[in-house]
């Protein structure tokens, strides 16, 4: 066994994140760790990578117990983590990032040669002098893998590696994974996608609420068995509302062009969204969808083209605690901030005042109605769990009585129950007559959620044909096989 975790437990305060978990990664094997968000997968990987110490239990490499004090320790033992989000220093070049991670010397000429030799050997081409900030999402992930392998990792821990990739990119990644295991390496693949585990893993372990509920070779499990193990009970999902096809046009854009950060952005978008429609946007990060959503939400000015949006507009940003909520402020204050000056608690004409007791009362009602669990309206937003923060954000957005509702990755990091609740709210908003525009980097969510699907590829927005399947949508977001392509 390359890496063995035995009897691992870990708790944070009163929350038990992991309970007596065993996991072993053998040479030549892909071991999938399956579980929904919040099941403890990432905590387990952080322990394997030395980022967190376990409360109890042991970590062993090649059968010998080790105690990691840092990620560097783990790296010294041949463990390499590929995080879900890039850990590269944006301002550094590819080779500087590799030198930093692998402890290589910095002298430019020699460093370049060394990096080139490595990328050639791995068959993962990447220009050593490009700044990391200019890489696409999939190249950033490639950099992460090269960084780990430059440090001579024998075990790769891949944390939700396909979350930000298009299907074709995922396949390329898995081809590499197979090459790596055939060469004697071991891989732990963390994922919440069942098909992925079934497609590439040799062995599957399912975590639920911090405990192992199933661990078997791939050949002995079925999709049904895995689903039951992952979810446990049954799930309440609101039925999607029937779209009103003949609602008024609330969003209209024509030849829209929006500049993005660092050159790329939205180059061309034409779309019409009617009241009652829920339109989902599919795309790999950095293809113009962010700019489209933010322009519709009124946060960035279009550079060129026509954009007409009915008011009021509400926006649910992807980053809950930086762009959505102010963690150090109370629930009430966050609601007051987001609902804006049209709210009933903003009074007076010359100098506008805030009637805090009215705002508190309304916040309490919203928290109650949207099932936001907290220590009351005067608790800080930072004290809420991710799911409750998201519910508060959605509640606040709807309190604006929006005719247009825009949301970015509204269920990122939420567990299945919270995801279902958020989906229900979005459908309800559309059913009540709003135009709803949602972006998700999860293709399955796009397909489940959208009445219609828009595709962002290379800064151009196109409409996907009705009834499109996952494979064709995956091709479209990479700019291949669109409706016009041969």
């Amino acid at each position: 066994m390359l890496l063995t975790l035995t009897g691992i437990s870990k708790s944070f305060g009163a929350v038990q994140a992991l309970r007596d978990v065993d996991l072993a990664v053998a040479a030549g094997e892909v071991h999938a760790v399956l579980g929904e968000n919040g099941a403890g997968k990432s905590t387990l990987m952080h322990i394997a990578d030395g980022l967190l110490p376990p409360d109890t239990g042991t970590v062993a490499v090649d059968g010998r117990p080790v105690r990691f004090r840092s990620a560097r320790d783990a790296r010294g033992h041949g463990i390499g983590m590929v995080h879900q989000h890039s850990t590269a220093v944006p301002a550094f070049s590819v080779m500087e990032n590799i030198a930093l991670a692998a402890g290589w010397a910095v002298a430019p000429t020699r460093l370049r040669r060394r990096v080139e030799a490595l990328t050639e050997r791995l068959a993962l081409p990447l220009d050593p002098s490009l700044p990391a900030s200019t890489l696409s999402v999939s190249l950033k992930q490639r950099l992460e893998i090269i960084k780990a392998l430059a440090a001579e990792a024998r075990v790769l821990l891949l944390d939700e590696p396909t979350a930000v990739l298009a299907p074709a990119e995922s396949e390329e990644l898995f081809r590499f994974v197979r090459r790596f295991t055939q060469g004697g390496g071991g891989v732990a693949l963390i994922t919440h996608k069942l098909e992925e585990a079934l497609a590439v893993a040799d062995r599957i372990t399912v975590l639920r609420r911090g405990a192992v509920v199933l661990s078997s070779p791939r050949s002995e499990v079925t999709a049904e068995g895995l689903t039951t193990a992952m979810i446990g009970g049954s799930l309440v999902v609101a039925p999607p509302a029937v779209p009103l096809r003949d609602g008024p046009v609330l969003v209209q854009c024509e030849g829209l062009e929006v500049r993005g950060d660092g050159g790329r952005g939205l180059r061309q978008a034409s779309c019409t969204i009617r009241g009652g429609e829920l339109v989902a946007v599919a795309g790999v990060e950095g293809n113009g969808q962010r700019e489209l959503l933010r322009a519709v939400a009124g946060l960035t000015r279009p550079f060129r083209g026509l954009l007409e949006v009915a008011r009021p507009v509400a926006f649910v940003p992807e980053d809950r605690t930086t762009e959505g909520l102010i963690p150090s402020m109370t629930l009430t204050e966050n609601v007051v901030l987001g609902v804006g000056r049209a709210a009933s608690w903003v009074t007076g004409r010359g100098v506008r005042r805030v009637d805090w007791s009215a705002a508190r009362q309304r916040t309490a009602e919203l928290a109650d109605r949207f099932d936001v669990r907290s220590d009351g309206t005067e608790a800080t937003a930072g004290s809420l769990s991710g799911g409750n923060q998201q519910k508060l954000l959605v509640a606040r957005a709807l309190e604006r009585r929006p005719r247009v509702l825009v949301a970015e990755n509204p269920t990122r990091g939420l567990d299945l129950q919270a995801t279902a609740e958020v989906h229900g709210r979005l459908h309800a908003a559309a059913a009540a007559g709003a135009a709803v525009l949602v972006y998700s980097n999860d293709l399955d969510e796009v397909l489940v959620l959208g009445d219609r699907v828009l595709v962002a590829a290379g800064g151009v927005i196109t409409e996907a044909p009705a009834g499109i399947d996952r494979v064709r949508l995956g091709a479209m977001i990479l700019g291949q096989g669109g409706p016009d392509a041969e």
Binding site: L51, A71, F92
Partner: protein, 305 residues
Amino acid sequence: MDPMAVAGDVLVAAVGIATPLALAATGEVLAERSGVVNLGIEGAMLFGALGGAIGATVAGSATGLGVGILAGVLVAALFAAVAIGAGADQIITGTAVTLASVGLTGTIYRQFYGPAGVGLSLPTLSPIPIPFLADLPLIGDALFAQPVTTYLMYILVPLVWYLLFRTRPGLAVRAVGEDPTAARAAGVSVRLTRAWAVLAGGALAGLAGATLVLAQVGTFTERMTAGRGFIAIAIVVLGRWNPVGAGLAALLFGLATALQFALQAAGLDVPYQFFLMLPYLLTLFALAGAVGRGQAPAALGKSEG
């Protein structure tokens, strides 16, 4: 008066004024590249100046420089303990450290040199002409007939550049300043790296303060740095967080300051106060022309709680 001679004098003065600024700014480049703004370098310079004066009184100029460096390190250590160790706001910590330094140096100085606070006069370091180079026309005296501290500056500025951009510790410093999370993931200790950078910066600020006393003024007075530490921070921005750039920006500032001698010599009837303002105003406008946050380390000023 011979215009060439005037120009030569201006250049000599400019390099003299630039030396402590370049030293302090180079130290601050180190700190800021690691993500720390240290407004306490004004205090570190002040303590460096006092340390330089006391050291030189007790055991000569070389000791003075050493004591000055040590004093700068101690002040930086206080700053590091609060701003890095406890993760407090860097700007506010720096302001407090400078405030306390003004009080402490003023008090200690009177303790050493009597309540009247006068009568301290130290011989300044004499210029050491470098054979042949010092004979170059116009720039010879300015660049190559300077006190030892200027030559130290010539060595330290490129050295810090090399350290930052060509060595692994330098890579770690820059990583920590750009993206602490990524640096930590790479196994770099954010706090430790920042602490070392700030201490090294303090040493350079201390040396700058001692230089001010031992190479330029020849005495210590209360608040004698008069904001030079803050100027050094502006110079870091002007030099785009690059030691060599900071060295050049310091030279520019020195030139702007020294220009008043030339203009006065030219008999221009301009009140001297405008010459006092000139370097600051020039710096302000240069900042407007040269900056953009784009060049700054991305994590600059963000404390780790």
